[in-house]
Each structure stands twice: as C-alpha cells, then as structure tokens.
C-alpha cells in the first residue's frame, strides 16, 4: 500500500523548487510592506519539508 508521505513530499518539494527559483531568478520581486525575499525563504522551508516527508516515507518502506 502506498504511503501518503510520498505524494505530499513530491508536492511540497515541487512547490519549494518553484518558489526558490522565483526567489533566485527574480530577487526583485518584493511585496509592498516587506523587504524580505519571501519567495526564497518560504521556498527553502517548503523544499525541506518535502524532503523530510520523502525521507520518512523511504525509511518506512
């Protein structure tokens, strides 16, 4: 039986990659009220979350 952590890990990994790419290649994309590169930081967190889920799924299999 497949593990929900695999598709979720893929989903958040992919989302993280998209956000990181935007953060790196379009670093000037900023929201009006913050100086932070929001895309890059949340992208990294999502990527990590996705990787942890995939790792957990692999370990359980």
């Amino acid at each position: 039986m497949w593990d929900l952590r695999t598709p979720s890990g893929c989903f958040f990994g992919l989302l993280g990659l998209i956000l990181c790419a935007v953060g790196v290649f379009a670093p000037d994309l900023r929201a009006p009220l913050t100086e932070a590169n929001v895309n890059l930081y949340t992208g990294i967190v999502m990527l990590l979350f996705g990787v942890v889920l995939l790792w957990l799924a692999r370990r359980a299999a």
Partner: protein, 549 residues
Amino acid sequence: MTLASVDYLILAVYFAFVVSIGWLLRKRVSTSEDFLISGRSVPVWITSLAFVAANLGAQELIGMSACGAKYGIMTAHFYWVGAIPAMIFVGVFMMPFYYGSRARSVPEYLKLRFDEKTRGLNAITFATMTVFSSGISMYALGLLFQLVLGWSFTASVLLSAVIVLVYTFLGGLTSAIYNEVLQFCLIVLGFSPLAILAVAKAGGWHGMATRLPAVMTHSWKYMSKASENPMGVEVFGMVAGLGFVLSFGYWCTDFLVIQRAMAADSMSGARRTPLIAAFPKMVIPFIVIVPGIAAVALHNMHIGYSLPAKGNGYDYDQVLTTLMAKFYPSGMLGVGLTALMASFMSGMAGNVTAFNTVWTYDIYQSYIRRGAPDSHYLWVGRLTTVFGVALSIGTAYLANLYNNLMDLLQLVFGFVNAPLFATFLLGMFWRRATGHGAFSGLLAGTGAAALTHGLTMAEGKGGWLAHIHTFPSTMAQNFWVAIFAWSVCFLVTVIVSLLTKPRPQQELRNLVYGLTDKPQEESKSWHHRPGVLAVVVGVVCVLLNIWFW
C-alpha cells in the same frame, strides 16, 4: 490584486496533485464501506490531521481572522475554551461508544442506542444542513474571489466544486481524508509566513499591544462584564454557552468531524484522533486570529496598510486577503491563494463525504431500499457524491440570490443543533434514557431555542414573538439560546425517559457507559495512551489561556 503566471502555475500544480491522489486511491474502493467509511483502515496521524482540516474550511479562516480584527485575542476562546475541552471529551469518553458500537455514522449510533425516529430526525436534519453549509461556504468563496481577483463567480464555484467532486468520486472518504492532510499542511505553510511577517512589521506582540486598546490583547481580563468587551459576552455565557453547549455539541456529535475519527484503524486510533488533532488545533489561532489583530495594529501605524473599508465601517472578511496583497510577492501570493482554495476544498469535501454516508446508509438504506446487494449501495454512494455537489452548487446560487433566506436557514439549523449534546450525553452515560425521551427532548430543545430567540433581542435581531430581554450582542444571544435549548432538552429527556419503558440492558451493550467493556490501553508508550495525551493537551491549553490572560 493581480496574479502572475507563476501564481497560476502553483494553483495548477495543486489541482493536479489533489486529483491524482484521488486517482491513485480509486483501486482501494471495492465495497460501499471502503467508499463511505474508508473500511476503518486509516492510520491515526492521517485521521488526526483530517479531523482538524475538515473543520478548517475557508469560512473558518476568513471568519476567524475577521473576528481577530474585530474582537482581538478574545476570539481564541473559540479554540482554547471551545474546541479543545470538547475534543478531549469526545476522545476520552465518547469515542469508545461511537467506534465500539460498530455504527457507521452518528445517526446510526442513535438508532442503535435509541430508536428509528431519533435516527431519522437526526439524519434528515444533518443531511440538509451539510448540503446547505457547503453551498454557503462555496458562495462565500466565489464572492471573495470575485471581489479580490475579479474572477467570475460561476467560474470559481464550478472549478472548485468539480475538483472536489472528481477526487471524492474516485476514492471516496479515503481520498477526501488523504487530501485533507495535504490541504492542512498547505494551509499551515501558506499562512504562517503571513502571520510572521505581519506581526514582525507591527513590532511583535508587545509592539501590537502598545498600538491597540488593551481589550484586544487580553483574552480573559475584560470578561467579567459584557459591557467591558467588544464581544458583549460575560464569563458564564462564554463558558456555558460556547465552551460547554455549542462546542461539545459540535465536536462531540457532528458527523463531519466524528467520521474522520471513526475511519481510524483501531479503537485506540479512533480515541487518539481528536486528542492528537487538538495539538494543531491549539496553534491555529496563531496563524488565523493573530494576523487579524496585527492588521488593526498596522492600520493604526499608517505605514501603507489600511483595513478594507465598507460603507462607514470595515469589511473584516477581507482582512486576510488584503494582508496577503501587502506581504506576499507573486509566487508566494499564489501559494497563499492556493491555501485558501485548499481550505475551502477540505471543508467542502468534509461536508460531501459526511452527506454521502448519512444519505446512503441512514436514509436510502433505511427508508428507501433495504437489503440490496452491497454493490448497489456503492453505486448509490458514488451517485450521491455527484448529487450532493450539484445540490451544494444550487445552494450557492440560492445564497447569491436570497441572502436573507440563508441567514434564516442558518438560524434554524442553530436551533436544531443546540440541544443535541444533551441527547448524546444522556444516551451514552445514563442507561435509563429511552428513545421516546431522546426524541421528545430534541423537539422540546429545538422549540426552546426558537422560543428564546423569539422573546429576546440583540442588535435588532430576534424578538419576533415578544421582547422581554435585550442581550448586549448577537453572540451573547446565541450562547444563551444554546444554554436554554440544552437545559430544556436535558430535562425533557430525563422526565419522558422516566415515564416510558426502559430498554433491556442486554440490548445496550457497547452503547452505554457501564454496559461496555472499558477500552484496553493497547500500548505502553505514553503517546499511545488516550488518557496521558488528554492530560498533556489539557495542561497546554490551560497554559495558553494563562499566557494571554
């Protein structure tokens, strides 16, 4: 607010994943029980997150951030006084009867414990309510997207409904539950950056406290008199009305959430579901209510954010989306809106799956066609998914056309729901309670709710019979309506039960406390024991209340 192509890409990726989860799960459905109750096979961490997510619809997110902006941290009472104690109670004390009775739904438990008419009353009102509430939240979502993004009402309503339909149709309850976990993670990851950014910009909690009236940053300090706080509720009304009657009524009897726990793979799993769910539930105020409070602080700082205006006041329902527009650049904005969409879908799928089960088992199989082969009921279940979604869409349009009708319906649903917990409490813990007692108690409780509302006024609402009392706010009125409904239902059930013939005790095995074997603590490690988990949840919840006193 305008979206860039990357935002649409993120939305598309999300749609692709939820549908493919349904597609992957389609092979696991071969009987009606697989489709409607997940064959009682879902791991506990999944049921727990689904338990929170099914309740975390878009209306909850939008409504709670709006209340945060309106009332401040007092809104957290809905969680730390309302939800958590009720979740502890249902996990520790009630789940043994729901799960142990082998009932497939909450109305079916009522049939086993009481009688056919009590089940019928509950099943029919519940089925009607779920369809209407999913339609009403669909309407709210369509309206918001129309307002914020300029999307057509029809397009966003149909798109979101069809996606929910596809994945629920394919994989049934399992698919809905699995997707709710994904949606829950997305909601948390999509909204917490907003909370962090908004609070940081407003100078942290202390910075916010200096820019706001003190009543907005204390949850209990101004509760002794209704006139001192913006909610217009005093301690007793809050604790008894919200904390006891309404919250226990929802978390302990509403099949929408109970269904998730009943899908767990073991009794211990079913009992731990609400308890484990309580941990994320306690934290949700930080990502929905706190940003609402921060929005008011930012507004007072005059640095480029102002609360969305509507007429002479503010349109608090737009607090969340206007904050997103100010703090999320393209990319993250897509994630934020996708998270909003995800919350809507998790709420709607919750309604649809609960409706399916109650319709198929408690109405169709009981009153329309008994004794058909299981494949017939599987087919009916699938068809009901389509039918339920179509009805919800119809309701969304109805809500769009007749706003007042929906307000009236929600009011009536409130009357029906208010006394429910008294019936379950007596049913589970008093073996003398009878079917006639439960049925007449429910009717009397609903009547008492309507009567209380008809005799009292608040903010111009109610008082359609006479005007004998005025409440400081509609919220206080709601709480007191619930208190009266519950008390009348309790008394009438007891009196009528004592006057009618009790059921023989052997028929009540596994249905009533004292006639049911105590659930065995299956595992030694502490996080597997419901009792220990309950204590930990309780302590953390008390600490949160003290922290924001």
